[in-house]
């Protein structure tokens, strides 16, 4: 133990007092990079040529057409968009031959009635503008106090929750609105539903809703609970949430941008301040179909059964039964499926091109890797040669995505170990990376950047400067993480020698990625089986020997540094040239509706959580015949985690769990 390790964190935190704050203004004055964001459309009726291509390519059936007679009796063709369905992938904009349908960077789409989100052609052709209600005026003390102290229950139901994360962090800081995340349903006012709701999750949501005290408000993020959204044909997600519980505010987007969530909060504060006390309460369990299964509690003198998750601040939408003897875990049984959408079969229903907008939604935390794995497998079957420039752009996107994923995980790990400051700082820094990703690919969380054969857009000219700025900033911040976390004696003592994963076990249970490298196995798909431009780039594979929680965290921190190094090299080496190749070596051109010849391929990439493989079978149709996603967390969480938890203290469970970097959406698919 070093005295400096105890004193240095204080010194570093002291420096924050004089630094410029990380927090963005709200309402947003002029957000840094948002001009390229894919937000609401703008429709130019005079340019529309009645080709209906946008409606055909739309994966979510969000676009409708209208033949309208005007006063003179002339019939006009119009296009209309339903924002309760739209997933903002931009395929309609790509395919539109006359650019009659364009996307603006306007993200603010909130409504109390979801029918208001259906944009007729007149509303769609108006230029979007934002009017925020003034929340200064108030009517009575009680509504004012209620509006300024929303306690939000933290139940991370789906992928849209990722945009609630910046509000927890220092970048957006929800506490300036009086919002506070609470773990107990009995003390919370706001139920925030993030994204799609599976049948298994719905039962828990109904239970939580009925436990909350009155007045209760339900805010829904994303399109999936409104109409089914992206998962409109999935067998396991419910389509309209307001059939089961009342919903006060619908926040549209896929996922809704952070600023949009803030807009919704301002609207909610305004409404509650003016005396709104929520809709009439009802719960519809459809004759017991969505009631929680009644379990007779087993009484055992020796053991205690504790449920970890799904509604738990440190679990994600994941559940584990812990059998305890005193403070020690005797047995852990994961219970998964809260996010099961049947992804592999959903992809069989969509064309090869439409799948590029759905595939990154498997795991919201690191979408870029899923894009890469999917397009890589499709390219192998079709025989598409990717141009050099596109390969480098893909590497930059994948590495940026890896950094933000690792930052998110460092925050989660730190918060479960009791270091909330780090959580706020890393998640705040994560926003810088996200802005850069958005500037590059036009999508903030879901970039939808790759297509089989290349990438969709080239980067803007000043991207290089902005990227170097962010890389420099991150390099500086990593030193702060070292001072506050990795060289902090308290954190070292808290995480050393717990959750040890031996080398042999890591191989046999198929644990991959940073978790495996922290156990002393020198394997990285980027180096061993190079894909994209990785074989021309120089990077070290970070290997640590201990295999405990601390080395897994340290491995991620070192990988961030290595990724920054890769990004710098990739920007330097990136050649000029085309960004996409359409000609397939086995005949034909790859386009929006085209088919891919019969064949099968396996493509593996190194995602932030480990090795990710796509196995795709094509029978020569416009849709894949079978897609198998071998996610990195399936074995880690379902097989290895229960073994690691045997005999540990119950207080160490969240720390070990997050040190393995779980993404429940990935193993449930």
């Amino acid at each position: 133990m070093k005295i400096s390790n105890i004193l240095k964190p204080f010194k570093t935190v002291g420096k924050f007092l004089v630094e410029k704050p990380l927090t963005f203004h709200f309402p947003p004055e002029s957000p840094v990079f948002t001009e390229r964001f894919r937000g609401r459309h703008i429709y130019h009726p005079e340019l529309c040529i009645e080709c209906k291509l946008c409606g055909t390519v739309c994966p979510n059936n969000a676009i409708d057409f209208l033949f309208e007679k005007d006063e003179k009796g002339l019939v006009h063709f119009r296009t209309q968009v339903d924002y309760a369905k739209c997933c903002f992938c931009g395929l309609c904009e790509d395919i539109c031959p006359t650019k009659a349908l364009e996307m603006t960077n306007f993200p603010f789409l909130v409504a109390m009635d979801k029918k208001e989100l259906y944009y007729g052609w007149k509303k769609l052709s108006e230029k979007p503008s934002l009017t925020l209600p003034s929340i200064k005026e108030k009517k009575g003390l009680i509504p004012w106090a209620r509006a300024r102290s929303f306690w939000v229950i933290n139940y991370f139901t789906g992928c849209c929750f990722i945009e609630a994360v910046p509000w927890v962090a220092s970048s957006f800081d929800m506490e300036r609105f009086g919002l506070l995340a609470t773990a107990s349903p009995r003390h919370s006012d706001v139920l925030l539903i993030g994204g799609y709701v599976t049948t298994k999750t719905l039962k828990r949501i109904i239970r939580i809703y009925s436990q909350m005290p009155k007045p209760k408000f339900v805010l829904v993020l994303g399109n999936c609970p409104m109409t089914g959204g992206t998962y409109w044909d999935s067998y396991n997600t419910i389509k309209e949430l307001d059939k089961y519980i009342p919903v006060d505010l619908w926040i549209a987007g896929c996922p809704p941008r952070v600023e949009n969530v803030g807009y919704a909060v301002v609207l909610a504060i305004w409404a509650v301040q003016h005396g709104y006390t929520g809709k009439e309460e009802y719960v519809n369990i459809e004759h017991g179909k969505y009631a929680l299964p009644y379990v007779v509690p087993k009484i055992d003198r020796d053991y205690n059964i504790v449920e970890f998750g799904p509604q738990h601040p440190a679990s994600g939408n994941f559940n584990m039964f812990l059998k305890l003897k005193g403070e020690r875990v005797v047995e852990a049984t994961p219970n998964v499926g809260y996010l099961h959408r049947g992804f592999e079969k959903l992809m069989e229903y969509r064309t090869w091109y439409q799948n590029i907008m759905i595939v990154q939604r498997v795991c919201v935390l690191d979408g870029a890797s899923y894009e890469l794995a999917y397009v890589g497998a499709a390219e192998k079957i079709a025989g598409l040669e990717v141009p050099e420039r596109a390969k480098y752009l893909r590497v930059i996107q994948a590495e940026l995505s890896r950094i933000q994923s690792h930052l998110l995980n460092l925050g989660l790990l730190a918060s479960s170990a009791g270091f909330d400051t780090i959580t706020r700082i890393t998640w705040g820094d994560r926003d810088k990376i996200l802005y850069l990703l958005e500037y590059m690919s036009r999508g903030r969380v879901y970039q939808i950047y790759n297509i089989p054969g290349g990438v969709r857009y080239d980067v803007p000219l000043d991207f290089v400067d902005k990227a170097f700025e962010v890389v420099k900033y991150m390099e500086k911040r990593l030193k702060i993480y070292d001072d506050l976390l990795f060289n902090n004696q308290v954190f070292i003592d808290r995480t050393k020698n717990i959750g040890k994963l031996p080398k042999e076990m890591a191989i046999e249970l198929d644990v991959t990625g940073p978790n495996m490298r922290a156990s002393g196995i020198d394997f990285d798909v980027r180096r061993n089986i190079p894909y994209e431009a990785y074989k021309d780039l120089d990077f070290k594979v970070q290997v640590l020997q201990d295999g405990d929680v601390y080395s897994r965290a340290l491995c991620r921190r070192r990988e961030i540094e290595e990724s920054l190094h890769i990004i710098k090299q990739a920007i330097d080496k990136m050649p000029k040239g085309p960004i996409a190749e359409r000609k397939m070596s086995r005949g034909g051109y790859f386009s929006f509706m085209s088919s891919i010849p019969a064949g099968e391929a396996i493509h593996c990439v190194e995602s932030a959580r480990g090795e990710l493989c796509f196995h795709i079978v094509s029978t020569g149709g416009v849709k894949p015949y079978r897609v198998k996603i071998r996610g990195p967390t399936f074995d880690t969480i379902l097989v290895a985690l229960p073994k690691l938890l045997k005999g540990v203290q119950v207080a160490d469970v969240p720390v070990i769990y997050w040190s393995l970097d779980n993404c429940p959406a990935d193993h449930d698919r």
């Binding site: 209906k52 409606g55 055909t56 739309c58 059936n61 676009i63 409708d64 057409f65 209208l66 033949f67 309208e68 007679k69 049948t199 298994k200 039962k203 089914g228 409109w232 044909d233 999935s234 067998y235 396991n236 419910i238 389509k239 309209e240 299964p293 998964v336 499926g337 099961h340 049947g342 592999e344 079969k345 959903l346 229903y349 192998k380 191989i507 046999e508 249970l509 198929d510 394997f523 061993n528 089986i529 099968e600 391929a601 396996i602 593996c604 090795e611 493989c613 196995h615 079978v617 015949y625 079978r626 198998k628 071998r630 399936f634 074995d635 379902l638 097989v639 449930d668």
Partner: protein
């Protein structure tokens, strides 16, 4: 052992049909149902210590289910996919859980989603779904769009909706 040797062994001893991916890292081998477990044992002894996945493909037109596993060898740096075909009406196959420990969980998933039973796997109980009463959801003859339309009362037209006023 070299890859060439390995392939030769697979062909000679197990009568496998082999095809190799373009980048030579991926070997696809088709074997008979009877030698499925033997191939797995052979590969495990040859240093294929990691099992990536066990999964299935439903070939509706031929009335078979293709069961396959993918495994990786650190030394040879090669992925091998071994597949076999079983009848679609009563799908049964011996389990690999005695060879690779994590196979049991993957087989549990296939059991739930494709309705294939694995002889010798003690873990076969629902994994993702709770109170699911329908057919195995990933079978090709279970049409999700039809099911969703019936279950949730939503109609989705195959072509975009057009309104005439």
């Amino acid at each position: 052992m070299e890859i060439e040797n390995l392939l030769k062994n697979l062909v000679e001893h197990f009568n496998a049909k082999i095809s190799i991916g373009k980048d030579r890292n991926f070997v696809l081998a088709k074997v008979d149902k009877s030698s499925y477990v033997n191939v797995a044992e052979f590969l495990f002894k040859e240093g294929f210590r990691r099992l990536l996945t066990v999964s299935a493909i439903d070939w509706l037109s031929r009335n078979v289910i293709e069961i396959y596993f993918i495994t990786y060898n650190h030394v040879m740096n090669v992925y091998v996919k071994v597949s076999t075909e079983i009848s679609r009406d009563s799908p049964e196959i011996p389990s690999l859980s005695s060879i690779w420990e994590n196979a049991a969980m993957h087989e549990r998933e296939v059991w739930e989603l494709f309705g294939v039973s694995f002889i010798g796997n003690k873990m076969l109980k629902p994994l993702f779904l709770e109170d699911w009463k329908g057919p195995p959801p990933f079978r090709k003859d279970f049409d999700w769009r039809e099911y969703v339309a019936k279950e949730y009362g939503l109609k989705y037209p195959p072509v975009p909706k057009t309104v005439y006023q």
